[in-house]
């Protein structure tokens, strides 16, 4: 600790260089925090789905519907508390692909009962249950488009042609930010009737009385419909979610590869700074040695200098990223619940410390084994 002043004084010697290095380290750790949070958010999304809800899909593929006629048989099953269904509507708002958001037709009463994650004021819920063209919209989406309650919003149907008008009757907030607040829900019965009774549910959601029975009930559902015109594929909501996350492809690898690259880029910058700093001070290091500073202490001082820079930069970048994403929710539209976790901060600081040691190691080693006589001759 008593050497701290020496370390700090050395960092203050060339302030511009120290500041630039700290900033470039900060930028690197800002990127690190962002990239890693993409992964942790995706992992959280993978864990998001419930184990006590099953998703029943058409066995042929995601985009094929199931049949309304299957509902009674599902409801009659033992271990199934309730059944709901929904349909991907795929409507476009303002016909601009950039303005795209997820919109679903849901069976209002059963769906809201099944999804306590969707928090809706009671009066708004009552209206939604009563009014055929009503829609409920996530808070984030409301803010994105500046919509108001009671406003009519027109979606252009892609699967179901035509202009579809909906009146916003409710604004929901999710209990867990990872669930997302960028969805648009409207009533399935409205879709069914306006489509000339041609719509069918995209999938069913089953609420189980006991999550432990998920595997057996999934199997029973699929056997039950195996030889029907619409065979099904049933899995837990969690597995279904995880499958969706997987569809992004090898994001983890990409993030890791970039993260490694960022680490090395910044290692070069920091190591270069440390080498320049050490080279300029050969004479001073020789003086310290003449005064009797042991090699180990000199090594430690140079490493500490590097460590202070990388840890300071790391702190700025990591905490900055956390504060930025915590307050702006800049990425929430893509990755609901995007945030920089404590684990990411801890890992970041560990990497910053490592970076300090590695970038300081060579100059520190050179300084420690510097020959005093030679160095003093150069100075004098």
């Amino acid at each position: 600790m008593k050497f701290a002043r020496l370390v700090l004084a050395n960092l203050g010697r060339n302030k511009r260089r120290t500041v630039l290095t700290v900033l470039s380290v900060a930028l690197a750790f800002f990127l690190f925090a962002t990239l890693r949070s993409v992964l942790t958010t995706l992992d959280a999304a993978r864990e998001l789905g419930s184990e006590s809800r099953l998703i029943v899909l058409n066995a042929t593929g995601l985009t094929f519907p199931v049949r309304q006629s299957q509902i009674p048989r599902l409801e009659a099953m033992e271990g199934v508390k309730s059944v709901s269904w929904a349909n991907w509507f795929g409507g476009l708002y303002q016909e601009r692909p950039e303005d795209f958001f997820a919109n679903f037709a849901i069976d209002p009463a059963s769906y809201l009962a099944l999804y306590p994650e969707v928090q809706l004021p009671p009066d708004q819920k009552t209206t939604f249950l009563a009014e055929r063209t009503a829609a409920i919209v996530g808070k984030g989406l409301m803010e994105k488009f500046g919509w108001r309650l009671g406003q009519t919003v027109t979606l252009k149907g892609t699967i179901f042609p035509g202009d579809w008008d909906f009146v916003i009757r409710g604004v929901y907030t999710p209990t867990d930010p990872a669930y997302g607040d960028q969805n648009f829900f409207f009533r399935y019965d409205y879709l069914y009737e306006r489509s000339g009774r041609r719509a069918e549910p995209g999938w069913f959601v089953l609420q189980l009385t006991d999550p432990a029975s998920a595997a057996t009930i999934s199997a029973r559902v699929d056997t039950m419909f195996k030889n029907s015109p619409t065979p099904t594929k049933t899995e837990t909501e969690k597995a279904f979610q995880a499958g969706f996350v997987t569809m992004w492809g090898n994001v983890a690898f990409l993030m890791r590869a970039i993260g490694t690259a960022v680490f090395f880029a910044i290692l070069f910058v920091a190591a270069n700074t440390m080498m320049m700093a050490a080279r300029e001070r050969i004479g001073e290091i020789a003086v310290l040695k003449t005064l009797g500073f042991p090699d180990g202490t000199i090594f430690g001082i140079v490493i500490a200098e590097a460590g202070v820079m990388t840890l300071l930069g790391g702190a700025i970048g990591l905490v900055g990223a956390r504060a930025l994403f915590g307050s702006t929710h800049a990425l929430d539209a893509f990755l609901p619940g995007f945030r920089v976790e404590g684990g990411t901060l801890a890992l970041g600081f560990a990497i910053a410390a490592t970076l300090g040691v590695i970038s300081g190691a060579l100059p520190a080693w050179q300084a420690a084994r510097l020959s005093v006589v030679q160095a003093l001759r150069k100075v004098a």
Partner: protein
């Protein structure tokens, strides 16, 4: 008067470690930039190459994607009978009304993927250029036979010739493999439209693609079809349709590439600033001598800028070399328009390599500017007095 470049080269050689560290920092940035852009370009190319500008591509009005579309037989035959549809040697129209569905298949590695199954007309291989059956043969009309795209065949089981795949509740025999210039068709399964129609969505096609007699007359074709009272369709050039499908994701990827390499670049530029200031400081007496000899401050400035750019260019070249091996590497993601998997290869093009080098030079310029200006503004007397 210009200060010879050899002077900079010598000075770069004098500080090899510092030069190397700075250049390598930039190299990594350039490599990341090229790799990310290669990803974005590869995805775009896979989809864009799927389409041809000689073909017109038709969906139900407002459908936006094949998955959402439905075109009945009547519409399809109206289109096939139109005069601007090209014909083959035998006089049959070059038109392919197609079924488009996405089915879930298990991958070789056990994962689950959504795969496009496309029902084509027997004419389709003539409508589309660049489709080559590499193994086996074309399916026979009327038979439950399929062709499997080359990329798909690599990562899914039961795709060898003679193997059977089950989907849509039926077994299909693989009779051929095909390539399509690396386009997203190679991630698809093709069979006869009339075979798929009853199995999947009933009496409706999803799209119609035809070869235009005169591709230059596309606007007229579009106008005629979209205003034809008998049908309600949207018409696009095939290539533009697929470009549109790739737009959002390749834009997002491009944005991520620029964002990440931009942030990294700022860090690398700071590194270059440090290095160049150190170079200027250590050569203060030399600069003094140059100025005394009558070199203009501007020459000193450009000399240091040149030096920064040389270092950056070294970095750029190393970065380009680092990124080069990923060219052709195949990866996959999802085409969110159809929720189906698209395999594609990273594309490192000469133009991309050049822009990587350009990027590095810009970093060098930005990093060298202030130090170079400092060098040029140095007072001669001060410079001479400073110790080396």
């Amino acid at each position: 008067m210009k200060i010879p470049l050899i002077y900079n080269l010598r000075s770069i050689r004098q500080r090899p470690v510092s030069t190397a560290a700075t250049a390598l920092g930039m190299a990594v940035v350039v490599a990341v930039f090229i790799a990310m852009m290669a990803l974005s370009n590869g995805f775009k190319a896979a989809l864009v190459k799927t389409g041809s500008s000689d073909n017109a591509f038709i969906l139900r009005k407002g459908a936006q994607a094949e998955m959402n579309s439905g075109i009945d037989r009547h519409t399809a035959s109206v289109i096939a009978s139109l005069p601007f549809v090209a014909a083959d040697e035998t006089g049959r129209p070059l038109v392919s009304p197609e079924i488009f569905v996405v089915v879930g298949l298990t991958r070789l590695n056990g994962g689950f993927a959504n795969v496009v199954v496309r029902g084509i007309s027997p004419q389709a291989l003539k409508v589309r250029k660049g489709i080559t059956i590499t193994d086996g043969r074309m399916f026979q009309v009327g038979a439950p036979e399929i062709l499997v795209g080359a990329t798909l065949a690599r990562s899914f089981p039961n795709t060898g010739l003679g193997d059977r795949i089950t989907f849509g509740g039926r077994d299909w025999t693989v009779v051929g493999h095909f390539t399509a210039n690396g386009s997203s068709f190679e991630s698809e399964i093709w069979g006869e439209n009339e075979q798929f129609m009853p199995v999947f969505r009933g009496e409706v096609f999803q799209s119609v693609t035809f070869r235009m007699k005169d591709p230059a007359a596309f606007d007229g074709v579009k106008q005629t079809l979209e205003t034809d009272p008998r049908i309600t369709v949207d018409v696009a050039r095939e290539i533009e349709f697929y470009e549109g499908q790739s737009r959002l994701l390749s834009q997002v990827l491009g944005f991520i590439a620029v964002f990440i390499s931009g942030v990294m670049a700022v860090g690398a530029i700071f590194g270059a600033v440090n290095t160049m200031y150190a170079a200027v400081a250590s050569r203060a007496p030399e600069i003094g001598v140059l100025l005394t000899l009558g070199f203009r401050p501007r020459s000193v400035m450009s000399s240091f800028l040149a030096e920064a750019m040389i270092i950056a260019l070294i970095g750029g070249v190393i970065g380009a070399l680092l990124a080069l091996p990923i060219n052709g590497l195949v990866t996959s993601t999802t085409n969110w328009n159809s929720f189906s998997e698209v395999a594609f290869a990273f594309r490192v093009t000469p133009a991309l390599l050049l822009s990587g080098l350009g990027f590095s030079v810009v970093m060098g310029l930005l990093g060298g500017y202030f130090p170079a200006r400092r060098a040029a503004k140095q007072e001669v007397v001060e410079a001479l007095r400073a110790e080396g």
